[in-house]
Symmetry: C2
Subunit: 247 residues, 2 copies
Amino acid sequence: MTQATRRERLRAETERDIRRQARTLLVNHGREAVTLRAIAREVGITAPALYRYYDSREDLLRHLCDDICEDLEAELYAALEPLGEDAGTEQVYAVCRGFRRWALAHPQEFSLVFASTENVIGTFKPTDRLKVGDQFGKVFLEVASRLIAKHEHPHGEGEPPEPPAVLHDDLRAFQQVLIRTVTARGVEVDEESLPLGAIFHLLQAWVRLYGHVALEVFGRFPFAVSDPEPMFDAMLGSIFIPMGVEE
Amino acid sequence: MTQATRRERLRAETERDIRRQARTLLVNHGREAVTLRAIAREVGITAPALYRYYDSREDLLRHLCDDICEDLEAELYAALEPLGEDAGTEQVYAVCRGFRRWALAHPQEFSLVFASTENVIGTFKPTDRLKVGDQFGKVFLEVASRLIAKHEHPHGEGEPPEPPAVLHDDLRAFQQVLIRTVTARGVEVDEESLPLGAIFHLLQAWVRLYGHVALEVFGRFPFAVSDPEPMFDAMLGSIFIPMGVEE
DNA sequence: TCAACTTCGTAAACACCGTTCACTGAACTC
DNA sequence: GAGTTCAGTGAACGGTGTTTACGAAGTTGA
């Protein structure tokens, strides 16, 4: 039946357990509390045993990041599901709101994944240029690209503005990644329907989305905002309405 | 001559020394390396002695944050100096570029001050609503407000758009803070010359500024950007040119 | 089936960490 | 000059990441 030997099954099980316990420690008591000994205590083994699974605490945290990204991706897709395939416009707003909601509900995970200087996560090497893979903005960018590709007048009425010339190479490389990703999910896309200007716009949107969410999570708005939600919605509008994407 | 006793002078001196050594540890080896024992070793005392100066490691880090903010403020003002009092437009661009340059040159400091979930720094209480004081965005907001107040057509040709109604109270409170701050630096400002819409615009600008800089510092752009500077400049343009602030 | 091999987990140890406590000795006050 | 304040000490406690040698299972093949 199962090809896996008894030992392999047990190993996989404890590994899941380790990650799960590490995760709850992170959520409930913050990054500093994710201690090898604490994890081991919860799992019911001793600290050195963890070295059979991870090279170091850093390595474990790195894997934790991957898990978190996967969960975020799943959550965002789950929020998209009920909207149906063709609700492109609502999807964009749903992904953005979903990202904010997730970040506010999981501040520790957010700051680990999205605000670490350390090489905990791969700040990517040149080779990663060609894959969005396992990357957080993935869902956002994918949904948005799909929408742009389908949309008749993706940027109001006129052509999208030309991005700075120095960025053309980077944008073109990224364009290929997006086209491949979106195509893999069953939407026809080519260079013409997803122009560089649109990608540049998307990038700017990601900057604003991330900026607002991070400021809110870290409580770093320059004054006390008693209810940031309408501000967030206003921002979404001012990003997407000029792009021709109304709610 | 000096009112300070010998003891007071010595104390002040070691305190400066402690902060300086802590700072270099942070810069060179990251937040985790700022340990009481390491600091003490550099200063030439023992770890428990530090408790004569700070309640805990957390407390020390908090003070470190204050120092960092002061330095950042000084650096930004220094970049403004050569531009002269009346170069409002250039000042805005200079402050933004200065902020980015500082963040890239001091990633550890940046992430400590601008991206900490923990209560290391005061995520501010309702009482702080009335002071920008010791707050990072201070310089940026002050320079920008001053410019807006002086400018004839601060928002292109038309009136600034109305911000969401729910935010009016918060914005009005913040308006008072800004007016007080700017006035204190010798520029005449009142509610009319610094309307809520303009402040809201400013807030959006801070979101984008922060978003770009943080993404760059943490290497979290969705693809490898080989030279983010022109992207930053393009963003500055798309923020300020619609506000009527051309370089 | 039994020996050889692989692998998970252990206990002990090392060097480091934040923090507390009783203490010394110098600086200060009157 | 006596009494007080206080920066700094050394020892100790319980915690940390990590390495090491070792035992006890699971697996493999003859």
